[in-house]
């Protein structure tokens, strides 16, 4: 694997409608995720950011009564097309959650090896190599290299979040989705994660949900703004604007974006 040219993967979302039971939670979404960019999804809480994000790797449908319609393409492949195995989609499009998850019964090493084993890798040396590589890529190796056999719970919240990221990286996905990865962390850990995201952009395509507008402004290349419409009996989320982060924060086209950015809503 050449370290220089990382494959470029993009995503194209067209007419995506996420449902919880019969209720459509977000109006049809059209969205582009470009290769090697950080796309931020921002908006007031309840506007459907997490829901849309979870549709991008078919995590949404793991909720028994939830389903999605529309098309989501990874490069040229529609991941919602019939015959596509959702578990394989999730290995191509990884996800990191808000709460850092150290799988509690597992050592730091096993937290990462578990995903590799799942992919059929059993060779001990190869596992060691990939675990180290993933931990290095997550800027965690130096902090844990002497305690790989300890429980993941022995780590701080910020370290656990980087462990979660390492677990995702280890599988070598094309795209990584982050759902408010810093909102449970202190400012210093947050900075470390942001630094890490900027590094990872070199190798992956990243989508990050954040409720922190400064964070979106600091690290993202483009931003999509969601809002929630409360006119109907059920609030429905919608995508109001998508553009370069600079444009969104300096001259938003939509009035609602402007109000949100300037702190009048949300």
């Amino acid at each position: 694997m050449a370290a220089t040219a990382h494959p470029a993967h993009s995503m194209t979302v067209r007419g995506l409608k996420p449902f919880y039971a019969k209720r459509q939670a977000v109006q049809a979404v059209d969205l582009d995720v470009r290769a090697h960019e950080i796309l931020a999804l921002i908006g007031p809480s309840g506007c459907g950011k997490s829901t849309v994000l979870r549709c991008l790797n078919r995590m949404h449908e793991t909720i028994p009564y939830a389903h999605a319609e529309g098309s989501v393409k990874l490069d040229d492949l529609d991941i919602y097309q019939a015959g596509i195995d959702a578990t394989l989609v999730r290995r191509k499009i990884g996800m990191v959650f808000q709460m850092p998850i150290a799988l509690r019964t597992r050592s730091i090493y096993e937290n990462i090896a578990v995903g590799l084993r799942l992919g059929g890798m059993n060779d001990r040396l190869e596992l060691d190599r990939r675990v180290e590589q993933a931990l290095r890529s997550a800027n965690l190796w130096d902090e844990v290299k002497d305690k790989l056999q300890l429980s993941g719970l022995a780590l701080s919240g910020g370290q656990q979040q980087r462990l979660s990221i390492a677990r995702t990286i280890a599988i070598e996905p094309a795209v990584i989705l982050f759902d408010e990865p810093c909102s449970a962390l202190d400012p210093i850990s947050t900075l470390k994660i942001e630094e890490l995201l900027l590094q990872l952009r070199e190798r992956y395509t990243l989508v990050i949900v954040t409720h922190n507008m400064q964070q979106a402004a600091r690290i993202s290349d483009r931003t999509a703004v969601f809002m929630v419409e409360r006119g109907q009996e059920q609030p429905v989320g919608l995508l109001v604007e998508e553009g370069s982060t600079e444009q969104i924060f300096s001259k938003p086209r939509d009035r609602r974006t402007e109000e949100y950015i300037s702190g009048k809503v949300g």
Binding site: N57, M59, T62, P64, Y65, T87, L88, V89, R90, R91, G94, M95, V96, F97, M99, I101, L103, R104, T105, R106, V114, G115, L118, G119, L153, S164, R167, T168, I171
Partner: protein, 335 residues
Amino acid sequence: MNIQTNMQNYAGRSLVDRAMRGLTVVATALAIIPLFLIIGYVLIVGGAALNLDFFTQTYQPPVAVGSEAIDPATGLPIDSTLSGSGAIDPATGLPIDPSTAGSSEEQPDLSQVEARGGVLHGIVGTLMITIAALLISLPIGIMAGIFLAEYPDTPFNTFIRFCCDVLSGAPSIVIGVVGFTLLVQTTRTYSGVAGAIALTFLMVPTIARTTEEILKLVPNATREAAMAMGAPMWYATLTVVVPTALSGIVTGALLAFARGAGETAPLLLTIQGNSNLSFSLFEPLAALPLLTYKYIESPFPAENQLAWGTAFVLMMLVLGVNLLVRITTARIKKG
């Protein structure tokens, strides 16, 4: 607003409060006192029945007091052939004395009889049957619990839950009758397996429901983290969710074990009892609850004493298991 009336209200309310609190203390005491009486009585009376023989010997017919008496002059046991065999006919409770056999008209003095032997056969039987029952119940119960917790919105799930609730509420003698009809009558023999399977009916619901409860405590985020790695649902359940909940599942197993070890009715109709030590699950076996029942029915006070000893051992077994549960759950809470 009149602060004076409020004060009166306050006095009234605090009085009611104190009365209510007093009532809860009384109620607690009423509940606890019998418990302590039972435990204390079993400890004292049962403890007195314990000796080495109790744990190392099996059933032996009781003998008349003095048959093993020591001659103070010689320091040797008095030869039992001189003072009669000392053995007692278990049917009549009469000493089998060659000189008086069959012709005795006098009432035997039942208290002048001492029990011999022990309950090793019961301890072994109880352990064998309960462990066998646990081995059968664990896979079934854990799988049922996983199904209840992880696939909750199916009609079959409702059905399984209903069955668990009915089974765990069923009177245990009913389980005994079912075991008798299904296992003893068809195989034409009382056996340890029949007892173990009967206990399974009681243990599976306990294991299934505790497994379900503990799996529901596993944060959904843990499942999602596993699924986000591309793990199929069943794989996430088996390799991530179940190990996370393992100590809780162990707790359920221990509780089921304690419950099974103390059951009498299902065994009464399935294992029959056995006065000898047996290590075969395919023969009638002894069990501590059955021995307790048998000894307390005995006409000899000395054997009644053995019943208390058996009760003591049984209670220690259950207490010990519960203590183990405490320790494991304390560990779960620590994380």
